[in-house]
Subunit: 203 residues, 2 copies
DNA sequence: CGAGAAATCCCCCGAATGCGGGAGGCGCGG
DNA sequence: CCGCGCCTCCCGCATTCGGGGGATTTCTCG
């Protein structure tokens, strides 16, 4: 099994390598710290399985990385290995074509099982604890929410988006309602918890 | 070297074990997923070195874990291994007596170097990229900030703290100034980025 | 003792926020 | 075709925010 690890935490990546390679038949043929790096080396490595964190630095995030990898190598199998219970992002990865999902706080055997299941062409999902009602914000609402998290005022957001501030107020009201938040501060926290925006991308 | 790993991500912990034990003289004699678990097994394991994440589940966080461990085993050496560039929390751990600090996105050799340095009685700090002007909020200001992050209004905070809302306004103004934030939403983001509050503790 | 920080309270004031409602246009799928 | 969701805009209104000023007490530290 030719495996590639994608994790910006090099200590973690190298350790995963040691762990996985302690089992027969598993070989880590490459490690990347970002989506860009993975895409660069993809042809060279020709991995069968990609174990990938969702929280990656650089221009393309984990979900986008998965999407692009599978477009280039439809035969590859992507296992998402992530720390946070990041439902929105996880759903995104699955929709992007990942066929495995393991949380970092799972038993190591779980990851191993995932690798082996996926290698046999099966899917493997370390089931999330709760289904969780998918709060879907409209594209516009997400844009507004992102800017709210950046501390922008309604008027500033209106200027940036080229609309009237009444429009922004409407969007904000809808966002607050959907996130069950009483004000922008709570909306920001909720957005972060649900992975609608990430701390790292703010600034 | 008797090493104990503390990380709630079991996949990561087990992998670290594999990585560290691939070197002579290093032996992982125990792994814990929380501060409580570590404290329970401390007498049994008798570790010389403890490699510990700062973001731990359960009642006691990473900093508090370090503090308690060193109170019980002053001879033990604690290396903090953390993912986020979490300055406030890091400083807390150092003040609590940790003698090593390595970021998870460092080179694996860095962790190895840290273990070996610490084993020889030295300190090892994988220097943070920027010194970062330590914004020290007063205790009261931190209390207020936490509640701002919870989405409380000034009046609500005033009631909770049993003071007048003008007082809260003063504190909030000071916090905004110190965090260089223009409004509460930005203050929340800054607080999260600096580890003054953590996402997990918010509800 | 005196300096200074911390915490508390007070006033004024303009701007931003959040809520309620209404309303028109546009595109997509039944 | 007709409805429905999305985006857009508008009005009014009570509340909250954030900045400015100044004031007091308590406490620590040199």
């Amino acid at each position: 099994m030719r495996i590639v690890l994608v994790d910006d935490h090099r200590v973690v990546a190298r350790s995963l390598k040691a762990f996985l390679e302690s089992f027969d038949g598993l070989q880590v043929v490459g490690m990347a710290a970002s989506g860009e790096e993975l895409l660069e080396k993809l042809d060279e490595w020709q991995p069968e399985i990609i174990v990938q964190d969702l929280l990656l630095p650089g221009g393309i995030d984990g979900v986008e990385t998965t999407r692009r990898v599978l477009r280039r190598q439809p035969g590859a199998r992507v296992i998402v290995l992530t720390a946070s219970t990041d439902e929105a992002r996880m759903m995104g990865a699955l929709r992007a074509g990942a066929c495995g999902y393991v949380r970092k706080d799972a038993e190591p055997e779980t990851l191993l099982a995932a690798v082996r299941a996926v290698a046999r062409g099966k899917q493997f999902y370390d089931v999330p604890p709760v289904a969780g009602a998918e709060e879907d914000l409209t594209p516009r609402e997400k844009e507004v929410l992102r800017r709210v998290a950046l501390g922008r005022s309604n008027k500033e957001i209106a200027d940036e988006l080229g609309v009237a501030d009444e429009t922004v107020k409407t969007h904000v009201t809808h966002v607050l309602s959907k996130l069950m938040a009483d004000n922008r501060a709570q909306a920001v926290v909720q957005a972060l918890k649900r992975g609608l925006v990430s701390l790292d991308e703010l600034e």
